[in-house]
Amino acid sequence: MKDANIKRIVIAGGGTAGWMMAAALSKVLGAKGAGGAGIEVTLVESEAIGTVGVGEATIPAIMKFNAQLGIDEHEFMRATQATYKLGIEFRDWGAIGESYFHPFGRIGFDLEGIDFHQFWARLKHLGDSNGLDAYSLNTRAAYASKFVRPEPAHGQVINQMGYAFHFDASLYAAFLRRFAEGHGAHRIEGRIEHVEQDGETGLVRALKLDRDRTIEGDLFIDCTGFRGLLIGQAMGADYHDWSHWLPCNRAVAIACERAGDPVPYTRSTAREAGWQWRIPLQHRTGNGYVYCDDFLTPEKAEAVLLDNLDGAPVSNPNHLRFQTGHRAQFWAGNCVAIGLSSGFLEPLESTSIHLIQMGIAKLIALFPGTRDAPVERAEYNRLMEDDFRHVRDFLILHYKATSRKDAPFWDQVRMMEIPDTLTQKIELLRSRGRFFKYDAELFDLTSWLAVAEGQGWGPQGHSPAADRLSESNVRQSLANMRSVYAKTIDAMPSHQAYLDKYCKAAGETLRADAA
């Protein structure tokens, strides 16, 4: 058997992607790791260039990443001024004046092996006014500003809950930096000026830094953000543009003072040419307006954002441009792009950090034995493309399923052609609430149902299987569920009380460097 010859990994960039990568690689493959697989992990970053400064809301899958690193959740929350996130409230998406909640966790309990939502849809069509919210512990807890961390001993009701975090992106990177350095990763401060490639194979040999420094490596991870210094500029990987489906291409972000106790959910409010986010942290609130510049100028976007803050701004507006899509190759030669360098899907469902996590997990699973590993590379590229495509389709649903006719932006997205696979999926869901999840698909029935129903595209019928129980039996069962949820919520501590008890960050300093 050929001995593995990857001995040095060089990570270019020290944003969230770079430090997540450094933390994971140093933990599982680094010289200090168990058994010492003995790989040297070096990260190069430039403080002068800085990071993108956004990316503060996550989804529950991040728990797996933290668990794999052995991170203590409360310690991590204290260090990053984090709050809990139970889902996302969408305002004005289906129609102006309407709102709905996309919760994590489960909705309702199945009855006799038949999906809960089929019974709910049956009653809905019989005139019952209880929405999905009534059967989601997450939604009810979010609106009551309650939180408790589900533990196995809590029983099945609380364990229906799912949660994630809102955190300060710069503090998260700093937290992971301490972790990675503690596990043997080396950090080099400097500007990458040139990428040196092998003349024959095109493989990357070294990064040339300012002050005439050279960092050699066997495997290079491009975490240089939208610049894509290695994957794009050096390796020439093309970009697949998806902006015909997801046309937003700019954002302006700003942090403001918090107004009252932070709520345990993100808010997304649809606006004239896109949408605005609100992410509550312990010390401040992050805000941003994601929009399409065919329909709105940056100045107007900034003005709308400033008009819609909960408190006084505590940072300068951060204007960003992006293009929705992904690299044709996420891994080219001996260079793997992770994070914004690999592609970007707008932050509507907070999926970018998750896609970083997916990239890391897949790279570790397919870790190459040699600098050039075409088979592993092809598989990695296939899997990552699948991940991006599945998330893309879910995001498109939010835009397509709208009845807004108040602005040209909404006319465009309402009337756009969507991928065939998505059309079939939406039709199945709309007709009788049917949903088949692909293995690699991130969002499950709960998510698709919550968004489709919330935007007026919910099931119009139900499965005949849900007629197996008598109407009175179904009514009684669902009433019981509502009452159990109500009692459970009553017994939960407030989100703020839970934070105070377990996760209170030291100091109340307002950080102005990130939105």
């Binding site: 599982v28 493959l29 699973a365 034995g369 598989e379 079939q424 039709e427 049917r434 088949f436």
Partner: protein, 327 residues
């Protein structure tokens, strides 16, 4: 033969395993023999050993073999499922040993009695069973059976009228994918696809006049599943699977599996797989496909711990073999 997943189906329809054991209808199967171009291959349902810290056991085994320099040993020599299974020797394994062992198992079912038990269950649930006589549902002059939906369950298709392609649902006719040729040669595949088809149909059932979407989805899922079975069949029947030049175009997912497994010992899974990764491993291994390297994550286990782990697996295997021989 019924695969392990069949037990879930039995639970769904209310057919307890104890009843099948008591009536002598079921015998356990831990490692069915798959026919192949190079002779039968034992394909255990259970992995040889559990993964460690996310790394599959065969990577550790490969590392151990490199350390021990023991070229003659085989990964599946250590399989407790094969050691227990009757297919290697002395008759069916005892139920108590199988239930105690906690390994995934399937069932070899006595067809007549099993069909009788299912029939009884169906009748109790209200199905009209009119053996031999079609009654009101007699075929018309084209040989088509009357009914809003006709489900074709056997290889012999009825009628000369509109027919659905194997595995498809269209035109008031649903053809179970067990009519696909390869399902009959792969142990357990035939019944598995029937169970999957039943589940899929129940999940998608809809008023017949208004079910075009459901029919399309049903057919799409059934066809993907059929491709996964055809992949396994091709792997087994090709004289030299790794050298096949046609797989890339005829069985692209299989070509990917083979290439990746040979490169680094990983087994990629596709949507709607019928066979599990331990089964793919056994089938590829049995066809002589070997990884060129193991996952370097396997190096994280201290060498002494690895040696002790392998030794304990060997002892367990020996104990199972001795137990079988004394039966």
């Amino acid at each position: 033969m019924a695969r392990p997943d069949h037990m879930r189906f039995h639970a769904e329809i209310g057919l307890p395993l104890e009843a099948l054991i008591k009536s002598g209808t079921a015998q356990p199967v831990l490692a069915p023999r798959f026919p192949s171009a190079s002779g039968p291959i034992s394909v255990p349902f259970a992995p040889v050993a559990a993964p460690h810290e996310g790394v599959e056991f065969h990577h550790f085994w490969l590392r151990h073999r490199a350390i021990a320099g023991d070229e003659a040993s085989d990964l599946f020599d250590l399989s407790p499922a094969i050691a227990l299974d009757h297919s290697v020797g002395a008759g069916a394994p005892l139920w108590d040993a199988v239930l105690k062992g906690g390994l995934a198992f399937g069932l070899r079912l006595e067809r007549g009695r099993y069909a009788g038990a299912l029939l009884q269950l169906a009748q109790r649930a209200g199905a009209l069973v009119d053996a031999g006589k079609a009654g009101d549902h007699a075929p018309d002059e084209h040989g088509d059976l009357a009914g809003d939906l006709v489900i074709e369950c056997g290889p012999e298709r009825s009628g000369g009228g509109a027919q659905a392609e194997a595995g498809a649902w269209s035109n008031g006719r649903l053809t179970l994918p067990c009519t696909l040729p390869c399902t009959s040669t792969l142990p357990g595949a035939e019944w598995q696809v029937c169970v999957n088809a039943a589940r899929r149909f129940v999940g998608l059932s809809a008023p017949l006049a208004n079910s075009a979407n459901e029919q399309r989805e049903y057919t799409r899922l059934a066809q993907q599943e059929a491709q996964r079975i055809a992949d396994m069949d091709a792997l087994l029947q090709e004289s030299d699977p790794l050298a096949s030049h046609t797989f890339a175009s005829t069985h692209p997912a299989l070509a990917r599996k083979l290439a990746l497994f040979a490169a680094c010992g990983r087994i990629p899974t596709e949507d709607f797989e019928v066979f599990t990764p331990p089964e793919w491993l056994a089938a590829m291994w049995g066809r002589g496909v070997r990884p060129r390297r193991y996952d370097r994550m396997a190096n994280r286990m201290p060498q002494q711990q690895l040696i002790e782990w392998l030794a304990s697996l060997k002892r367990q295997r020996d104990a199972l073999t001795r137990a079988r021989e004394t039966v």
